[in-house]
Symmetry: C2
Subunit: 633 residues, 2 copies
């Protein structure tokens, strides 16, 4: 059962009761941050009235089961106000209020900024401008599962300088996400100075209106006005609503209220804290105390129970024949389309390159689960995070180089540990003539750096298709790197692939070196194998289709079998990719790894010409093998 | 001398002359892309009239010396239309028109997207939404050098979905950059589908007006309207202008004009190309041919010659004493303030964290060269790129983790090879209670991945100050990573530091292992040294203050002197940082490197507690040294 967070509904009782809750939330926020010795109490105080109204008069949720699929969502985009989020959930009965005093301790999940270690947090926040992008994902998910739950997202005013906010504004309006309600806590003061527009509310309103939102300007400390605005937002159809609440930072604490120099500062334990709490306590309205103590009442309509579980069907085997030519980016498109038909949880997101990434194949197969974000990578990834937090399995895709546009989201998706499956096409110099701005040469470093990503780099159609399925069923974030050129199918359709696996494509008892490639360089390694064979030299060729984690034992075994000579070759810069991955894996075995990688800023040219000029072609592999083999003799 | 690109100034002669130039630019764009076999001819055709007006009736520049400090700037934010940019410069006389037919060849600098290999390109474009950010930098630079040059930036319509565009919109309006004129080529069609707003010009106009710009809507193929709009923009004071030009993609080629499916497609050589060129040639106005052939005339007023060179004064030595406690982030603030007083080219940029990064010390020292961007990291970095392209030495700074917000700009700054000096504070788990969203643990991977960045990671006040100076004078992009906790001053004020250097802090003939730290882990290594000493074991301690490039010879020598035992320890994830850097450097010497790094998503806690729990404290170093030393005995 879900609950309406319903206080008595007549305004004369409700308003003072909510004001009392707001006061309590302020007190809790001050206490917790003072005890921790750090944090943002004044950023909590400005949003206390809004929080009280949302949690105790507006939202439908179950404090004991925040993950209920039909529960309204609340995302705190200004994550530094975490203490009041925690206080609200404690007030609602999710956990004991005394826990709040463990804020920011190693032993507590009440971290400095919210993370999904807490069951009521969908995505980690604390990097500004992201919560509103994730909120689009949770709102899209309501459509996907045909639920009427609403999504509320609270932003700071300074935060609206982030471009990601305006990417979200466009997409939400374009998608007519009327289940989405934003609230901006316009408390006038940023971290280091007053914000760009301070309390000029019209600056905010005209921007949101221009971007197609219904905008409502209110006094964020006028409880009746907050309730009216939330009501108006709920009744607004065909567009999202942004409530612009004029507030005072530090509201209720006279020595800090609306004053500069108090951002991110806990009050000093003792006199300073005591004075603040005494002042806040004096703001309780005595007559409303009983009403405020009431728990939320039960929801009127049943939910969740009627929802049927989504069982994926098995995905059919790949249809490629060995020797067929297909680009892995195209095989990716084929694969997600098949996967989407087998599993209703799978969704795809695009940033206006669907005809290059081949995600348009998914759009044709499941148009209702394909989300176009136009040229806006941050909201694409943020929305994917929100969708994943609500049970979808999102595959956002674009050129791999443009995923760097959302690198901070990649980072926060790691902290959120969400089930997003990133796909990046057009990696490396092998794209050719378009030039360096379109070449991803640092994407493996970006994704491998995060400790909880599975990072795949398939070389052919069969492995791509199997890896898409593998990534979908892997619990946690994943990245799939695909290439532009057509490559030959290497694997039979019954070949199996695993997270952390690799394939040995060529081996013999007399191999002089192990050559580890991935993607297009696998084919360069195979060419080198053929060339070396004619001069009587054998090499072991490895397809490292999973670049993180790597199969340490298999790499060490290959190294041992080939005289400790390991050469890596990759269409990526020398840092953070295949070479570093293999080198770390075999470090304890005492093998040095010789790395072939792109070591200068590339330029336009033909794909083969660039592999050659930037040192990662078959010719360079042959030279490296020959040099190593001779050096050790 | 500068030139006005001045055609005859009476409109009756000028308009047909410019139309003819536009036709020529379309022909050149088609020819070049057809010859290359790839590229974006239709994206060139839509902007041809605007380009002709800008280059041959509006801008002041010298085609033979595009870097003249007082020349107007033109930035092609929609970099995929590069062929028409090249055609315009060829038409202006910068190089021979026949060069255009080498478009996208390895041997030519006329790459698929513009890069500063070409003297008339300030910053590389091709990742959308960046040119307008860089344009803010070139416009700010005009103020810095007290020049009246203007900056023009041409955007695509689809591009305005990028959040970075709206970060730029805010900052330009807030800074009242009336020397900045944007033109949006609203050609209705994106790569994979019509844009969000197609030809609904009001959607564009209301957004730009809401963000404080003067917006002018025109027909982008009406030459008189273009000239009027440019004139109106030049006369508009106190705010930037955005000209919103309604255009047709593929304009002039009837079989492609305003049609889907033609994005990023060259016409086929032969019949298809010939038909297009014949049709375009029929659009020449015969009577105006002579006028169009005229070169730009000389500018009326002298420029540049009157500008005095800026000679930096030497920077005073650091004022720290060994043993003083200062956080490197604070030492960074002290250093850039000193540097700013010594060198007028130095500027600083902030994203509302100046009181945490201590860049506020620069603001106090040189307020006119301090640029506040509020919470908008992309425009901060983009503006820095524009400033650097015009001779400034910009130091943009924020928390290191939030530099990932601008990772794509970091990448394009590498391709641009601009002199931007990034500074990121609050790295690693040592920030403590704020939690993982505020901890940079992948920043070294991001910056080290780019082949042309110098990456510094100082551990104390003296090295920080020297490194700031070193970075400023280093030719190319650089990154300086600073820490939150106070650390003891290790170096005397006359100590010298170099790009690619390191310091050996402890050594003896009996060292059993080399421990390489950087930043806070240097102090953990020194603690480990003291602890091991009591049990009679000596270690070599290295401060790797430059993480890219690294001093390979010194690392190999240290490894050789300590039995091949090297341990790295870093407040960073295991990928792409100190461990990988050292491992690659010593790979050919055959040493395995044992790496201590953060290997899981961290959480809130006390700094020392986190160093301990995530495996990078003195205790872990002692354990690693002991295990390695015993294993090898």
């Amino acid at each position: 059962m879900l609950y309406f967070a319903a206080m008595p509904q007549d305004r004369q009782t409700l308003v003072p009761a909510l004001k009392n809750i707001a006061t309590q939330l302020r007190i809790d926020s001050v206490r917790a941050t003072s005890q921790a010795g750090s944090g943002h109490p004044t950023s909590c105080c400005s949003m206390a009235d809004i929080t009280a109204a949302l949690f105790f008069a507006e939202m439908r949720f179950d404090p004991k089961n925040p993950k209920n699929p039909d529960a309204d969502r609340f995302i705190l985009s200004k994550g530094h106000a975490a203490p009041i989020l925690y206080a609200a959930w404690a007030e609602a009965g999710a956990f004991d209020r005394e826990e709040l005093l463990k804020l920011r301790e190693f032993s507590s999940d009440l971290e400095g900024h919210p993370t999904p270690r807490l069951p009521f947090v969908d995505v980690a926040t604390g990097s500004l401008g992201m919560g509103v992008c994730a909120a689009i994902g949770t709102a899209l998910n309501a459509r996907r599962i045909k639920s009427d739950y609403r999504t509320y997202v609270l932003l700071g005013d300074g935060e609206t300088a982030e471009g990601s906010v305006w990417e979200a504004a466009n997409v939400a309006a374009y998608d007519k996400l009327d289940s989405l309600c934003g609230i901006t806590d316009v408390n006038r003061l940023g971290q280091s100075r007053p914000t760009m527009w301070q309390h000029d509310m019209e600056q905010f309103a005209r921007r949101w209106r221009a971007f197609g939102w219904h905008a409502i300007v209110i006094d964020g400390h006028d409880m009746a006005a907050i309730l009216d605005a939330l009501d108006e937002a709920r009744r607004t159809k065909g567009q999202p609503t942004m409530i612009l609440a004029r507030t005072l930072k530090g509201k209720g604490i006279s020595f800090a209220e609306d004053k500069e120099g108090w951002h991110g500062k806990a009050l000093k334990l003792g006199d300073e804290t005591n004075r603040a709490i005494a002042e806040l306590e004096s703001q309780f309205v005595a007559a409303a105390k009983d009403a405020a103590a009431k728990l939320p009442s039960q929801i009127q309509k049943p939910a969740a129970a009627s929802r049927t579980a989504e069982f994926p069907k098995p995905m059919a085997a790949p249809a490629y024949k060995i020797g067929d030519e297909v680009a892995t980016r195209e095989a990716y498109g084929v694969a997600i389309a098949k996967l989407g038909q087998a599993d209703a949880r799978v969704v795809a997101l695009d940033a206006d390159v669907k005809n290059s990434t081949f995600s348009d194949k998914f759009e044709k197969a499941a148009p209702e689960r394909f989300y176009e974000n136009y040229i806006a990578e941050q909201v694409m990834i943020g929305a994917a995070m929100g969708l994943a937090a609500r049970g979808a399995i999102p595959f956002p895709s674009t050129f791999a180089c443009f995923l760097t546009r959302a690198a901070d989201f990649v980072r926060m998706a790691a902290i959120s540990n969400v089930n997003v499956k990133f796909a990046g096409s057009h990696c490396g110099v092998s794209i050719g003539e378009d030039g360096p701005s379109q070449m991803a040469l640092e994407d493996l470093a970006m994704f491998r750096a995060e400790p909880n990503y599975a990072v795949f780099y398939p070389s052919d159609g069969v492995s791509t298709e199997r890896i898409v399925e593998l990534a979908a069923h892997h619990d946690g974030p994943a990245y799939i790197r695909t290439s532009r050129p057509k490559t030959a199918v290497l694997y039979s359709t019954d070949e199996t692939f695993t997270v952390g696996g690799l394939k040995v494509l060529r081996q013999s008892a007399s191999d002089v070196a192990t050559v580890v490639g991935a993607g297009v360089t696998v084919f360069e390694a195979l060419k080198a194998y053929d060339q070396l064979k004619t001069s009587g030299m054998a090499i072991r060729v490895v397809d490292l289709y999973c670049v993180s984690p790597v199969d340490r034992d298999a790499l060490v075994a290959a190294g041992r079998a080939t005289g400790g000579r390991i050469i890596t070759v990759e269409d990526h810069y020398a840092v953070g990719g295949v070479g570093d991955a293999v080198a770390e894996a075999v470090a304890d075995a005492g093998f040095g790894v010789h790395r072939l990688a792109v070591r200068a800023i590339p330029r336009s040219g033909k794909p083969d010409e660039l592999l050659e000029k930037f040192g990662i072609s078959a010719k360079h592999i042959v030279a490296a093998v020959t040099a190593l083999a001779n050096a050790k003799v």
